[in-house]
Amino acid sequence: MSKYITMIGLEMHCEISETKSKVFSSAENSYKSTPNVNVRPIDMGFPGTLPVVNKEAVRMALMTSMMLGCSQPEYMYFERKNYYYPDMPKNFQITQETKPIPVGIYGKLEYECNGEMKSVRINNIHLEEDAASQDHYSTYSTIDYNRACVPLLELVTEPDFRSADEAVAFLETMRSIYQYAGISEADSKKGQIRCDVNVSIMDADKDPSDPKNWGTKVEMKNVNSFSGVRDAINYEIKRQTELKEDGTYDEMEQQTRRWDEETMSTIYMRAKVDAIDYRYFVEPNIPKYKLSKEWLEEIRKSIPRLAMERKQEYIDKYGLSNYDATILVKEKAVSDFYEETIKLGSDPKIASNWVTSVILGHMNKNDLKISDLYITPTMLNDLIKMVNDGKISSKQSKEIFYKVLSDKKEPKVLVEELGMKQIGDDNTIRELVCKVLDEHLDLIEEHRKGRNVFDYFVGQVMKATRGQANPSLTAQIIREEIEKR
């Protein structure tokens, strides 16, 4: 048992990637590697431009608020956060403060961490615009306005996480929620997720529910990957614990630090007393508007089944193991593929085996996404059906699977082309068996004497059919025909 309790709070920024246009601009909202192509005059702050709220972004923000168990406001407001920065051409950001209330306040989310259910309180979630992105070189910097005004959801938790594992498990859950709800790809490689992390430690023998016992809050800005969040938290716990042990912890001021990936350490930026006054006020160009109960209800009803729900269903309804169900729901696209296959008639357990071992195995080995594969749920269903109907053997079906991917042809076509049909017809096989037996009357004698020639007969039938005869049926018929003689 550690001498200290760690308190961790997160501010998670996630870009909404699934709207057609940006949040206050009619420019396209899409990730582009070519800089400055998704730009309208307002994205660069030209005089006379005005923000226009994207209703779809508001809908997605409200849906997130609901999924996090937050309360939604009666009226929508936006506010201006005023500060000068090169990546913000207007030099103010349109965002939401906590008063008047943003798209969501005071929620709670259950999430799983190392097999245990945990819970975190959500302080608020708000909708705002992203800034442009910058790249710095030795003598100059470049700015890309593609990202300016992209809708961004900022979620603020209470300091309820007690370890880096919990914080990261929460972030993974949120990523899955954003993906399942069709709100964001939530891809940190595209810079769609960025986090600010608060860490403090306090004596373990004191009551953590009393803020008086809390330690000094240290905030780490712009941690851009989940592994970064884990490393930054662990580094900071270690650093703060050492201060405690040295007896210098109480001298530490409330401060903002920066996580440095290269040195794997946090670096002091500024003290809380130097915090910027953002001079917030209500954005006058966006009239406050009432959110109708009907619309909110419509949004609530349209919340799709999330990963947890799907997983439980796979276990309860399909009898899958917790392990397999967990793997299947990890990526929404994979889970969708699996469900589609079942919908077409495949047995849930067989389909699960295919997806979790064959398909995911291939994807992981080659670092591919399921959408990169040529195979569709319909094709997988066909494969499974052909095995079930005894048309091809299970071994053949695997061969066909890889052929589908490499040749980009449908399984049915490949089976046809390769002449890979299983002979399951009783009469056809019986005819062949009789022919083989007639040719080897001497061996039947040997068989009766006790020599094992059974496998030889099976082999002969297989040879004659180029492996297409159903093996178990062939064996059965051979047994019957020998009995007859």
Binding site: P41, M44, G45, F46, P47, G48, T49, L50, P51, V52, V53, R80, N82, Y84, P86, P89, K90, N91, F92, D277, R279, Y280, F281, P284, N285, I286, P287
Partner: protein, 487 residues
């Protein structure tokens, strides 16, 4: 040849009947522009290569007009009368101007304003002081100074304006013409350089109420680029001018216009108020009911401060985009912040910088409730007071300012602190987004003065019709500035 002193309808008749061509009108307006530029310094840009357009059924087609230089015009220098944008050529056109272009209107110049509309004198634009065509030793008031001077001088029948406190309606009074700002959001603000977004209105300066109605009918309309714009397609201002105002109810506010409120009134103010009382009599003669009402003086005295706090706060944020990095003349500097600082320090006039300081101060966390939020509360109280009046009355009728145009050399005017409410009350029209129109109502020493009529939101037709009837009962419609002589 002299057509530009005519009304829009008269010009339209001449164009339709082929007695004059659009090109001829444009040529005349350009010649007059150069003359008035010499005399009044009213323009930032004169569009010498402007060409006439095809004349069609639209009353505005083929007729020249002027654009205040804080409207964004594609391919045409748009400075906001500020050094910070002295070479800025936009690549998009303001919706209101686009609407006029669609009507076939021909822009012939861009008019001078107080820098970004922040000022009421017409003296702070980067191209210098705008002089009043009635008396070039006097100001036009602002900020739509160039537009007012040009329309009064007869360069064309109308010019666009913008109005955040009284920037259309006061210059109109000082120049003896009509100034109208419709209900907030009737005309899109997209492409208007923002001063204080919650108070900014687009509008027009003309020489008659009918011309104002015709122009705004063509400028207005809901705009997908401005969320505060609304659908006014059922409103036809021009058609609403019947002149029938029998039984309409007007009120005036004792605390603003009663002579007893100004014990130290100057001779000019006394004449102005006397003239105004005569106008009230005319209203009664037209069959309107005119009542005196009373409003808490404490509330009225807070008006000017409320305006300063809210407008400066919004302005300091709105104009943060002016850094010289993306547009405007980029300044030198070792880093981004120095470049920005040098650009803003050099580019803005001291008046604007002072307002930015006030705006930042009132928004700071420790001051915000005391200043900014309180100002918003008082704004609400004032608007509610006026809305209550509009339950009983069609409009409030009040004198504009405390007399005729002030001298450019301020020392010639006797400063009277007591008249502040009289000078500032038009700002209530911006607080509430009310439709508000100033029309000329007489002369003092050969200089024009004006009266203002303000009504409830969305009641523009009613307000304009009252102004139209009143205008018809006086002799100042369509007047062109005649320079007063100085002995």
């Amino acid at each position: 040849m002299k057509y530009m002193n005519l009304s829009i309808e008269e010009l339209h008749e001449l164009l339709i009947s082929g007695k004059v061509t659009s090109d001829e009108l444009v040529k005349e307006a350009l010649e007059l522009s150069h003359q008035v530029q010499e005399k009044c310094n009213a323009f930032v840009t004169i569009l010498d290569d402007a060409k006439g357009t095809e004349v069609n059924d639209n009353l505005l087609s083929g007729i020249p007009y002027g654009i205040k230089d804080n409207y964004s015009t594609k391919g045409i220098l748009s400075t906001g009368s500020s050094n910070t944008l002295k070479d800025y050529i936009p690549f998009f056109t303001a919706t209101a101007i686009e609407n006029l272009e669609k009507s076939g209107a021909v822009a012939v110049n861009k008019t001078v304003l107080d820098e970004f509309g922040m000022g009421g004198t017409g003296t702070t634009g980067h191209t210098g002081v705008v002089k009043n065509p009635w008396d070039t030793t006097r100001m036009c008031a602002g900020s739509s100074a160039g537009s007012a001077a040009a329309v009064a001088a007869g360069v064309y029948p109308y010019a666009t304006g913008s109005d955040t406190g009284d920037s259309i309606r006061k210059p109109a009074a000082y120049c003896g013409i009509v100034g109208y700002k419709p209900t907030y959001g009737m005309i899109s603000r997209y492409g208007l350089f923002a001063f204080a977004s919650s108070l900014d209105h687009c509008g027009v300066l003309t020489r008659s109420v009918k011309d104002a109605a015709i122009v705004v009918d063509n400028m207005k309309g809901i705009d997908k680029n401005d969320m505060t714009s609304w659908d006014s397609s059922k409103i036809n201002l021009t058609k609403s001018l019947t002149g029938d105002v029998k039984g309409k109810k007007l009120c005036y506010i004792k605390e603003i216009c009663d002579e007893s409120m100004y014990p130290n009134a100057s001779k000019e103010l006394k004449e102005h108020l006397k003239n105004y009382r005569g106008v009230l009599d005319k209203c009664k003669e037209l069959g309107m009911i005119v009542d005196e009402v009373s409003v808490d003086l404490t509330l009225l005295k807070a008006l000017a401060s409320v305006y300063v706090v809210i407008s400066c706060a919004e302005a300091t944020s709105n104009m943060s985009n002016l850094t010289g990095i993306v547009f405007g003349p980029r300044a030198e500097g070792d880093n981004y912040y120095d470049m920005m600082k040098n650009y803003r320090t050099k580019g803005f006039s001291p008046l604007i910088k002072r307002r930015f300081v006030i705006g930042s101060y009132v928004l700071q966390a420790e001051n915000k409730d005391r200043y900014f939020h309180n100002a918003q509360r008082v704004r609400r109280l004032l608007v509610d007071t006026w809305k209550k009046l509009f339950k009983d009355y069609d409009a409030v009728i009040l004198p504009v300012g405390s007399g005729p145009a002030k001298h450019l050399d301020g020392s010639k005017d006797i400063l009277d602190k007591d008249t502040q409410i009289l000078e500032e009350h038009l700002q209530i029209g911006n607080f509430g987004g009310f439709p508000s129109i100033t029309i000329p109502d007489g002369f003092i020493n050969g200089l024009p003065v004006g009266v203002n009529i303000t009504g409830n939101c969305y009641d523009d037709e009613n307000v304009l019709n009252i102004a139209y009837a009143l205008e018809s009962s006086m002799n100042y419609k369509g007047q062109i500035a005649k320079e007063v002589s100085h002995e």
